[in-house]
Symmetry: none
Subunit: 207 residues, 4 copies
DNA sequence: CATGAATGAGCGTTCATTCAT
DNA sequence: CATGAATGAACGCTCATTCAT
């Protein structure tokens, strides 16, 4: 599974999960405040509620913490999408709802998304690959949803772009909030983006 | 002017500009490779072609380098927009061209955009303000262009969202290229995004 | 207590004291040789017998070391005075003995006194205040001793000057030894200064 | 002469003196504020009114500046003593006046004395020797004055101690002012110290 | 003689990581 | 398993000194 990429010198799987969750929670809090690079491992350990020595029983490098955090955040987003997608009877309605859920999640998770978004680049090699693959999968889900939800055919290429657009417009609310909130509430923002989305896919609706 | 916020102990204005340009160029190269935090001041100095001591004759802190870099990148984008906007007779044609120029610039500037995009947050206080203000101004330019270019009226709020969308979709090409380039060439990407844009503003054209 | 003004990231109080004592001893050796400013933190750590990293587990800044040193020296002087003062039955005899003890201590502590004397000014704000207060207290002790020891009344102002004189004449032996030792042994110096002191307070004795 | 120990690449003797005086004046101002070690050569040059390059035309190292400053201060004290000593008809009166002049000079020169006093130790080898020799000479002057001024004989050893005491009590006013001024004005301090001095040399006067 | 841009050794300090207890 | 004291490489930055102009 996901976290098996990260070696731990502790054997007890349950304990590993418990400790890593404490770690992730603490780290997110700190990364929000000061970013990954300005957060020290000592601070992470303290915030997580154990000692620096213990921290290193469950990871091998500071980067591992970042990986764990990114992974957790992606999983949350993924779970949200998965949950709101109606696999059995896709519909335009469902596409809209999924998009709304996604935007709202971003709003809730606040800077969590920013963290992940801005720090993934600090990951190296395999780990970066792994995380980006997860992102790719989520876009694919959206893409597939778009194709199956529409009443008419749409080129896969277009669907890909639209999926990316939705994905990025969500993130945009995350870190351009400072600019957008002067004009829009979250729901207004959502409504207008969905409106444009529907226009783009050439559908007339009475919203 | 822009860079006068950053103190230098050297008097000669021309020299300051020359050295700072060397600095910016070197820094961009390095920031691309490893990000701001993992780049050391010594590396920046070396890449720029002078000693660490000389570096600090032209700036006061490492953050100053980041500011200079962000500022330079924004100026480039701003100049590109300014240059392609037809202030005298705005038209849909011009809006499209501006968008295209912008997308192409992003493509040329490569990771320059990413740097700026991902590292601005590392700036502090006034400097961050200053850079964000510049970003805001560019979005405003786009917004204004949208409003004046369209044959029909558009709410300012909608124009703002569209301006942000264009801005962000440009950046998206910058740092999701790894994903998008599997399917699209730059020009294809541009064409499709512009297509969606026009649909969104409810205009039928024969592209 | 005294050293609680200086933060340590180590918890174990005993260890803190042990390490700080190593530190103080090493620092005094070095400060004697080259003064505070020319001594590096690395040298202090090495002389104390541990790494630079460990040094900073027990202090926060280089100035802290100076403070610790000054504090330790003052405490030694203070303890010496306290010990030799006969609080219950003050007498001229006792005053003389205290003075002698003090002069001898200065001689033993050698350049320790000079360090403190010449480097206190490098302390800043609160710490300087704290150390100077300690000095003030010692002079006060002498002053009080003078007043209570004399068979006749003496103005407090005079006592203060005399206390200062004694204090400074002790230090004088510390850092004018290069000049004085050509003529005097320590005991000769002491005898003559005490002789003058007694003359000054207008007392005839058969020494 | 005195300053010939310090090499200059400039030939013109008058210019050397002029520049060095500017230097000394500027340096004293700065040393008072922040001490020798915390003052930079650049600051000295600026305060003196010329460039860092020019500074180094007249000295070879930063320590040279300190030497020049110490030398100048000692010369001032020396001149003051010399001026007030009545070589032709020494008298107790004159001794008192010399002492008073000296104390008042210290008061005027304020931290100048402290500088010299606390930084001489930073001089190395020959230069330290040279400056200390000057100090020794001044004490000798006082010592000689004491011997010749008194109506009765006094051991040379005693005279030496008294001379040192006077010298140091002057300096004491210089850097224990923070403590003494709460109780004494300069003149009160002088009067009482002279009173004690006279007692010490066993002379009854009607002050 | 005067200038000030250039240099780089060296400083104080931090922090990821280890390992004995 | 948990702890936290110890380590030292590495960082950002300073400043005495030089030398081409």
């Amino acid at each position: 599974m996901t976290e098996d990429q990260i070696l731990s010198s502790v054997k007890d799987k349950e304990l590993i999960e418990k400790r890593r969750n404490q770690m992730i929670e603490g780290a997110i809090t700190l990364f929000k405040e000061k970013g990954f690079h300005k957060t020290t491992t000592r601070e992470i350990a303290k915030e997580a509620g154990f000692s620096i020595g213990t921290l290193y029983e469950y990871i091998r490098t500071k980067e591992d913490v970042l990986f764990l955090v990114c992974d957790a955040i992606y999983d949350q987003v993924h779970a949200c999408l998965e949950e709101s997608i109606d696999h059995e009877s896709p519909s335009l309605e469902n596409l809209i709802n999924v998009t709304k859920s996604y935007f709202r999640l971003i709003d809730e998770m606040q800077e969590g998304v920013i963290i992940m978004y801005q720090e993934v680049k600090s990951l190296e090699g395999e780990k970066k690959e792994y995380v980006l693959k997860k992102e790719r999968e989520m876009v694919d889900m959206l893409e597939h949803l778009i194709i199956t939800s529409l009443p008419h055919k749409m080129e896969q290429a277009d669907a890909e772009i639209l999926a990316n657009n939705i994905f990025v417009q969500g993130q945009m609310w995350g870190f351009r909030r400072w600019m957008l909130q002067k004009q829009f509430s979250l729901e207004e923002y959502i409504d207008r983006q969905i409106h444009f989305l529907l226009q783009a896919i050439d559908i007339k609706r009475e919203d």
